[in-house]
Subunit: 268 residues, 2 copies
Amino acid sequence: MFYLIGLGLGDAEDITVKGLEVVRKCDKVLLEGYTSILTVGKEILEEYYGRPLVLADRDLCESAIDEVLIEAKDKEIALLVVGDPLGATTHTDMLLRAKQFGVQTQIIHNASIMNAVSCCGLQLYNFGETVSIPYWTNTWKPDSFFEKIVANFSRNLHTLCLLDIKVKEPTEESLTKKVRQYMDPKFMSVKEAAYQLVQIIEKRNDAGIISKNSKAVGLSRVGATDQRIAVMTLDAMQRCDLGPPLHSLVIPGPNLHPLELDYLAQFE
Amino acid sequence: MFYLIGLGLGDAEDITVKGLEVVRKCDKVLLEGYTSILTVGKEILEEYYGRPLVLADRDLCESAIDEVLIEAKDKEIALLVVGDPLGATTHTDMLLRAKQFGVQTQIIHNASIMNAVSCCGLQLYNFGETVSIPYWTNTWKPDSFFEKIVANFSRNLHTLCLLDIKVKEPTEESLTKKVRQYMDPKFMSVKEAAYQLVQIIEKRNDAGIISKNSKAVGLSRVGATDQRIAVMTLDAMQRCDLGPPLHSLVIPGPNLHPLELDYLAQFE
């Protein structure tokens, strides 16, 4: 049996009782460590579960997962994923491969940023399509996600912006070398995301419906005890420090429900 | 302290470890019983938690919540909510009222249908605005949600349709009487939802982009061990029995990603 278990968003205790029982009985437990992070690291989780965890990086999850799945034919193996286990395409792909190998699977759901974002008071059913904001480089500055934010905004829908995470990314220089070198992990802050958005707005220079004076909601460490939420203009958000990762950004629709306005006002 | 605790979607063991600890230490625990249900009832939960629960109906949550909140000024009180606690507007309103009374609050998140719907293989970031489909009566047949499905579809986005739940609804006849009488609880099935959608499509008769031959995904008891998923045309979905509640329906966008197609094919 191959289990995909969501860990939720905060710390070790955000796993469900069902999930914890499976973790404790499995023959092997892997921890997916590159699409998201908790506020606690692998060691704290190992202590809490009372068992060692195997760190599963992108290579393992995307290229070497077949071995794990074949092993799961007659062993109990779990992959732990921060948030809900089906937030990323990779995990759906794993379940399909498991089926090809005749391996049984079970999904144990948990909270993800896709629903916990409601902690800022914006109602989930008023959100449109979610977008991802990637880190820009000197030569690569994609902005196609901005059209989606505009499309949501013009239908009076909020946009959840998931911010880029770089974990175990090879350095550009090492790509052509035999020995891979890796960058330090980095996690996009609301400050960096707001900067990139303001750059796009200024470049378009078309007096679009979203301006740098539009409202933005910054969130950090959602679900953790030190969670923070801040509401201000996109312009001001460029200078807003919400502390350690993970961060998320929401661009609310233009006309908010009175209850949404009242709730957001707490964070202004 | 006033806690809002998500129970997740399946059974008693889908609560998080953090949530369970709070339930066990609280002075009083209420169970919200009208916006959603688990596959197990109040008695099973009471046995699992080892403590009695107070059933909180709509009247208590909307009209009489102030008393509970005032009590939470110097007691530990929790309200348990199926799914994630911030899925419904009522609970956001409670948090605002708590603030007015100077009562501290804590939210313990969990999975909700808004993220667990990804179990069908459709990617969460390809979903547009969520809609609710209400039960029609002889005289009231609203269809405004259909425009939202069309707007999502035309942007190639999936629509999650939340299906109506009637729990402790007064009968029409008793509305004018002193003694309220209540209808039996009812939960809209994918079959009933598909019927109403097909009625709307036929009434519009405008060869719209969504027809009764469009693909639909029916889901029941998501997160439970007997969860079911079925993929067929909206027309066929009118005759599809997915067993006991809760049910949800998804209208996928017209052009699916190959991985989404492969995953859905399992349920055809």
